[in-house]
């Protein structure tokens, strides 16, 4: 075991041995729902021995309405493990629409987080000409946030850098090269590489999805490899029809590995990349979810694979098909040849599981977070307010749902947990929609090892 006293864990193997999570944070939105209340951070009790297990036990409202909280990130992770002056104390909650970045103190009272500071959206625009914050990663004591547009919502945007005191340092990148769009990013410092993906300009995706705009090249179809130290892109992979809307990117947690994955949402494919023996980056399509017929649709329904996740032991890849309604688990021990080892239906447009644990589902599986030991997968159903309103209008009245899937990290397999369900349709201020989730002790989508 490590003798260090900084945040996180000395290795992925040590992270897997961490105590079981007892609390979980998820954002919940009212933006775009018709309810004139601020978005909030919900604390969910996930300790099965607690009397409030499977319930929201605290709600931290943001200072104003209209943020659209979406993804989150920690101020520090295992990349600071040898720095005893750092601690995983603050969760950053960007508002995609408002541009505000809320810094939330989760350490003083983990059950009842509190606002520590708000980095105002107007200040970020004035100092960096950026808007549309999405993915938050830390690197040592720096924090980098992908910003999907300029101050007017035009692509490609860039990367906002904050220091450990959450002061705006300016633009992180030295160049965006020929990159057309931004979205997610992940880096692997031992290989001096960062990979970034593409959604669309904020003023394209925020109002909702128009299929025709994909044909007009308003949505991305490329992923980009960066020289991480030089902070500039050096190689672009054109994925074409196989990679429409390449959203989430994940490297293996093993810091020596060059293998990584991207979920192309509209194509509903998983793209795998790696560095070959000659030192050249390669990519291939390894999973292709077929479109499914629907009685009321003129064309087959795409899966819409909006998220992917790699387990801490790098053995399993999880993905969702938001419109079909299934969560899948693949054994990626051989990353070139994934094997489907689990599938769960919950909601979706194909009508395979309209109800889960007695709750009528609106939406389909969307964001998910896996426990560090790989045994519990928490899944939420809302994607983004305007897109929800287009594909699942009933979510306005029913709200979002969080379910738990028990996963077998030894032999593979998934099973819905019948004791756990959080119905955000029954929230005190009316139906809200939950999205990304994180645990106080770190999770499978934040920590990076140097």
């Amino acid at each position: 075991m490590s003798v260090c006293c900084g945040p996180g864990y000395s290795s992925p193997a040590e992270a897997i041995q961490a105590p079981r999570e007892k609390l979980l944070y998820t954002i919940a939105i009212y933006t775009g729902t018709g309810i004139q209340k601020p978005d909030y951070l919900a604390t969910v009790d996930v300790d099965p021995s607690s009397p409030t297990f499977s319930k929201v036990i605290h709600r931290l409202e943001m200072p104003g309405i209209g943020d659209e909280l979406h993804h989150m990130g920690w101020n520090a992770c295992s990349s600071c493990h040898d720095d005893s002056s750092m601690a995983r104390k603050y969760l950053l909650l960007p508002g995609v629409r408002s541009n505000n970045i809320h810094i939330v103190d989760t350490a003083t009272d983990p059950r009842a987080p509190r606002i520590h500071k708000v980095v105002k959206g107007s200040d970020i625009k004035a100092k960096t000409n950026l808007s549309g914050p999405h993915t938050v990663h830390c690197l040592g004591s720096e924090i980098i946030i992908s910003m999907l547009g300029d101050a007017k919502g035009e692509a490609p945007g860039g990367y906002l850098e904050l220091n450990k005191d959450f002061e705006i340092m300016g633009r992180w990148e030295n160049s965006m090269g020929n990159i057309k769009f931004g979205y997610d990013f992940w880096y692997q410092p031992r290989h001096n590489v960062m990979v970034s993906s593409e959604w669309a300009a904020p003023n394209t995706f925020m109002p909702g999805f128009d299929l025709e705009e994909v044909g007009h090249l308003k949505y991305g179809r490329e992923i980009h490899f960066w020289d991480f130290e030089k902070k500039e892109p050096i190689e672009t992979m054109y994925l074409g029809e196989d990679g429409l809307l390449p959203l989430e990117v994940k490297f293996h947690h093993n810091p020596d590995s060059t293998h990584g994955f991207c979920g192309a949402a509209l194509s509903s494919n998983v793209i795998h990349w790696w560095k070959d023996d000659g030192g050249k980056w390669q990519w291939e399509k390894i999973i292709d979810v077929a479109n499914e017929p629907h009685p009321e649709w003129p064309i087959p329904v795409p899966g819409v694979m909006s998220a992917i996740l790699v387990s801490m032991d790098d053995k399993y890849l999880y993905l969702n098909n938001w419109l079909h309604g299934d969560m899948r688990q693949y054994d990626i021990s051989d990353p070139h040849n994934p094997v489907l080892t689990g599938q769960i239906w919950m909601g979706g447009l194909l009508g395979k599981a309209p109800e889960v644990n007695g709750v009528k589902m609106a939406g389909g599986p969307q964001m998910f977070q896996l426990s560090l030991d790989g045994k519990r997968l928490y899944v939420t159903t809302s994607l983004f307010s305007t897109w929800d309103n287009q594909f699942y209008p009933e979510i306005r009245d029913q709200g979002g749902v969080m379910v738990m899937i028990d996963c077998d990290p030894e032999n593979g397999g998934m099973k819905l947990n019948s004791d756990f369900i959080v119905n955000f349709g029954k929230e005190p201020n009316g139906p809200s929609r939950c999205h990304e989730a994180r645990y106080p002790g770190g999770d499978c989508t934040s920590d990076i090892w140097l």
Binding site: T31, G32, T33, G34, Q36, I65, G66, D67, E68, R97, S98, N99, S131, G149, A151, K152, G153, P202, N203, M206, P207, G208, F209, D210, L211, E212, E213, H216, K218, E296, W297, P298, I299, V301, S385, T386, N389, Q390, F391, P393, R396
Partner: protein, 120 residues
């Protein structure tokens, strides 16, 4: 210039607004509870339906031509050009959101920068 705004789904309440300020700012200052998000005309959260009168919303970049033809206006950047009547909030959003696969746009209904002129 000042114009009168009538909100038809709030008991026809009326407000006076300047043509020099966005409608969202003027109405919120007078106590109207309105949704909003980006405040630069790019995100559609504040959309309302204009049923009479005219507005200048040249700065909006969120609406496609079908939404504009149905009367939607983006309150965070739109300014009154006459007395107007609005329907506000999500009650007015009936045709704002549509399933893009079931009900695709015609080429002339796309956003202004990519729309083609309608064949007559």
């Amino acid at each position: 210039m000042n114009y009168e705004v009538t909100i038809s789904n709030r008991d026809n309440a009326t407000y006076w607004v300047s043509n020099r300020r966005p409608l969202l700012d003027s109405l919120i200052d007078q106590g109207v509870d309105l949704p909003y998000g980006c405040k630069y005309g790019g995100c559609i959260t504040c959309a309302a339906k204009l049923t009479t009168g005219n507005v200048d919303q040249r700065r909006q970049v969120a609406l496609n031509n079908r939404q504009i033809n149905e009367g939607y206006v983006i309150l965070c950047v739109a300014r009154a050009k006459s007395d107007i009547t609005l329907e506000i909030g999500v009650e007015s959003h009936g045709s704002l959101y549509r399933n893009p696969f079931i009900d695709p746009l015609q080429p002339h209904e796309l956003k202004a920068d990519i729309a083609t002129v309608k064949d007559i």
